[in-house]
Symmetry: C2
């Protein structure tokens, strides 16, 4: 490819809506352009990197016997009604009607579609297991799309689905897919971790996430350096001690607390520590209101609550709903005197004494409230978000915390979808049984952003060789210098047989060429400039300040270029 022909508009300025480095750099370097909020165009450089990511994923999926298919983006509502997810999925699901007024969704995922696809055609245990996957666009109508490709509304996913006649078979495929995912992320060259994860709205029993480290990541990671345990904070169980309040119960008192609503406001107003307050959070689910109680200085883990209540539709109640149902503003809600609402409390609440809770009356709180005497709890459970320095649930040593970007997610679905859609196979005895299923997602377009989050510096992107749009750039310092030009062109013709190379033949200043090369982030730059007169060219890796002088002999330059690329570690800074 010739840079003079490449459509890659680069920018000096960062676009106003770019809050993270991947968004800014992919935009500035001419990889992506916005079409609407959370909807992007991929320019030629972006498409090249995407294609390389997709190729790696495809090769690793094919290697474990998964078969590529292509399912439609527009899916009829009927399929989603069979599993109840047409209603459950909520406003993130994009919906449309066709000209005959039939309902469709732009698929956020394809469990229903794939189950419908094999139903009645995949009939015998003899055909199992079957593992199908696709690479294509997915839709999630994020209320606030941001972070460029990291939280987009239209994005590229690899999604795979497996069908089995036993949990042993599912476990085998699940492990094979985990290994394939490790190979994918290692071939791309990202630093990552695999953690236990919550299965959320997808459902199922077991789940793991492949998370690429990034300080701006939305996934909070917990790791035990001692035993190797790793989890995201939505999933990690709290296995530590609970603070025990060794004191006498004092008399319950209703205190006037005007305009004091949040835990911090209450603590400040009453002059107590947040750990003396019990937070009361109201949720709405399938069976009405649920109140969750937790110590004021701890965070409630909503995923744990959903699992405990077996209700994925649970969501925080809106202030208007609370006011209408309880005649009290949401800031003054509490468990005292509350009837007809299931009250679930974190185990820690059991050991608290003389706590502050909402007064169930505008501008009032109760102080010295005590469990049993003043309020009841229906269910105790582990509801807290585990934090760094909490003990490891396996070995008890303190956990360390970090952040990352979720790239891969594997789930053991079990029979959730096959039962709901009556998708059965015949077993050895001739009995019909629902398929046991697994599903396996990988964020393709967000992988591109995750790479940039890890690999960048003040000059631009530092692509690993695996997914760089071009592995090397030949920069002609002066295109009007016939010698430089002819050597560079000869080198280009020779090199392009071996690697993916671009030649910068534009009639602009060498400084602008260097700036673009650094911004775009080609792993290797071969500069054909003044030193050619002395019989040499310069080779420089993107992550290094060192210029290697190599004598201007085509074979020697090619050899050195390939050697330098073979040894390239973009995570190093030299």
């Amino acid at each position: 490819m010739r840079f003079s022909k490449l459509y890659a508009p680069t920018l000096k300025e960062t676009p106003g809506d770019a809050e993270v480095v991947s968004h800014a750099l992919l935009y500035r370097a001419g990889f992506i352009r916005k079409a609407a909020a959370g909807v992007y165009n991929f320019l030629p450089l972006g498409k090249r990197t995407l294609a390389k990511i997709e190729k790696i994923i495809r090769e690793e999926m094919d290697r474990i016997g998964a078969q590529e298919i292509l399912m439609p983006i527009i899916q009829p509502a009927e399929l989603w009604q069979m599993t109840g997810r047409w209603e459950d999925y909520g406003p993130e699901m994009m919906k449309l009607k066709d000209r005959h007024n039939r309902d469709f969704t732009l698929g956020p995922t394809h469990e229903e579609m794939v189950t419908f696809l094999v139903k009645d055609e995949l009939r015998s245990y003899k055909q199992l297991p079957v593992f199908l996957y696709q690479i294509g666009l997915k839709y999630r109508d994020e209320i606030r799309p941001r972070f460029g490709l990291l939280r987009a509304r239209e994005f590229i996913m690899k999604d795979g689905y497996s069908f089995h006649d036993s949990y042993e078979s599912l476990n085998e495929t699940y492990e094979a897919c985990k290994q394939a995912y490790s190979r994918i992320i290692e071939r791309i060259g990202l630093k990552y971790t695999v953690v236990e994860a919550a299965s959320g709205a997808i459902g199922g029993s077991e789940s793991h996430e492949f998370v690429s480290f990034a300080p701006i990541g939305e996934t909070n990671l917990l790791k035990c350096e001692s035993c190797g345990y790793a989890s995201n904070d939505e999933q990690a169980p709290y296995k530590g001690d609970y603070e025990k309040y060794e004191e006498e119960e004092k008399p319950l008192t209703l205190v006037h607390t005007p305009n004091v609503r949040t835990v911090q406001q209450v603590a400040d107003f009453l002059g107590v520590k947040p750990s003396r307050i019990v937070k009361s959070l109201l949720f709405v689910g399938r069976n009405g209101f649920v109140m969750a109680l937790i110590q004021g200085d701890k965070e409630l883990n909503v995923e744990k609550l959903k699992v405990q209540m077996q209700d994925q539709s649970l969501r925080l109640a809106e202030p208007e709903e609370v006011l209408e149902a309880f005649k009290v503003p949401i800031g003054f809600i509490g468990p005292v005197g509350l009837n007809n609402v299931t009250i679930v409390a974190d185990y820690g609440v059991k050991y608290m004494k003389n706590v502050v809770v909402g007064g169930m009356k505008t501008d009032y709180h109760y102080v010295n409230t005590n469990l049993g005497r003043d309020f009841k709890v229906d269910i105790f459970a582990d509801l807290r978000v585990v934090e760094p320095n909490d003990p490891c649930p396996i070995c008890g040593k303190p956990l360390s915390g970090s952040k990352g970007i979720e790239l891969g997610h594997v789930f053991k679905l079990g029979t959730k979808y096959s039962k709901a859609m009556n998708a059965m196979y015949m077993d050895e005895k001739g009995e019909l049984k629902p398929f046991i299923m697994g599903c396996y997602g990988w964020g393709v377009s967000r992988t591109m952003a995750a790479v940039v989050e890890q690999l960048n510096d003040e000059d631009g992107i530092i692509w690993p060789r695996s997914v760089a749009p071009f592995e090397a750039i030949i920069t002609i310092v002066s295109v009007n210098d016939e010698k430089q030009k002819s050597f560079a062109e000869a080198l280009y013709n020779r090199l392009k047989e071996k690697i993916d190379v671009i030649i910068d033949d534009r009639e602009i200043s060498p400084g602008m060429k260097f700036k673009d090369a650094d911004l775009i982030g080609f792993p290797l730059r071969i500069t054909v400039g003044k030193s050619l007169a002395d019989g040499s060219v310069e080779l420089k890796l993107r992550n290094s300040k060192k210029h290697e002088k190599v004598s201007a002999d085509l074979e020697k330059v090619v050899e050195m270029a390939i050697k330098m690329l073979d040894d390239y570690d973009p995570h190093k800074r030299e």
Copy 2:
């Protein structure tokens, strides 16, 4: 690939909605499955063939310097409002609203999006020409989706767009793309023709279609065997003579014609030839009603009428609209006494005398109606659909007719979109000018169907080697015969290094294996069966009944297999 692991459910029965052979065979052979009307899943075999078609297209587009990008499927309404197509496109455009109530379309095409993409970033004549393309899903909400992949609502297209600073440059790219398209269709191996075409709702000055021959095709082709002229019937000008009625004008008479509405009914009732009747067709456009007149035995070419009236929104009036506006049912409409309606007539009408037209009164027709005396015409034009045996517009020899499936379509757009969207570049003198554009479509998924329409027999599909899901199948007649199995496996391991091969290792009868192989249509079948005991295996091409016995020596079999594939012409029947 092992057939025992392949997800390819084959069927004996043709699905009820399959009206054409490609739909029936792609379904029966396990390439596609319906998800909704006009919306399909591609199973592993279908995805493999699609990938091969896409690879050929990609290579030929890249070869002419086009650069691959990826634009979103969901496009904001604002872009389409800038060109007026948000309203003009009609009910075939699928629309949706996001959670913030903003309007989007599922792109039926991407002229607006690509123009918006380069606008303000492609600035100088020095950067031109630029040619961008993508391969992805497109949406057209067909009122009656049918014919499987041939008239789907969700389908895969390659769409390309070029930007120029002169018509010479556009012409160069246009010609290059035509050559690329010829190479694509020739590499796939289809019999085809290139014809002049109407540019329709896309707009622009010149247009060509690449049409694959098929008796069920929706494109009517006209060709001159003498001079080589070729066109589709929407575009071909009529350059023949017009019938001249050499007779006296007779007195106009209003005749009672109860319940007689169509040309044929009128002809039968009055005992005249259809050529004595003038058909009056009412259209609605931007500026109200337009009446088109044509000799009763000729067909009106609506595309020509749209071009003549410079109004792409023209459509046939609905019966209710006619009744409301003229107080006459649509079957009795005619030009006599008609005011405030533009009347456009085919040139042929000029020479007709004493014709029958609608009586502008329920159940009445006028007979002996004469132009000038009884009705006026505002515009005469060539409005007729040219038919086989009409004279060639170039050399006058009779045209021959055939049918085909439109696969490629290239358009010279000119400045239609750049002007509407204010997309400008700076020319050598520093003046801002609108881009001169071209656009270039190729139906990817329908190419798969077009191949099957040309290449099939009573047993199934006959894939050309280029796009077959696998080039060859090794059929083990008896998988329990250790000798057969081990030779077949050794052959498979050897052959898969050279070609795309599948081994049929299923425990089913050889008859079922042969049937599946023929139905799916692998170019070459290598049968490892009883004859192995005598030291031979059999090679058979899909289009031939001949079995080649080859001695069971791995190298010899591989050599013969490749030779037979190299010589394979799937259009032959032996």
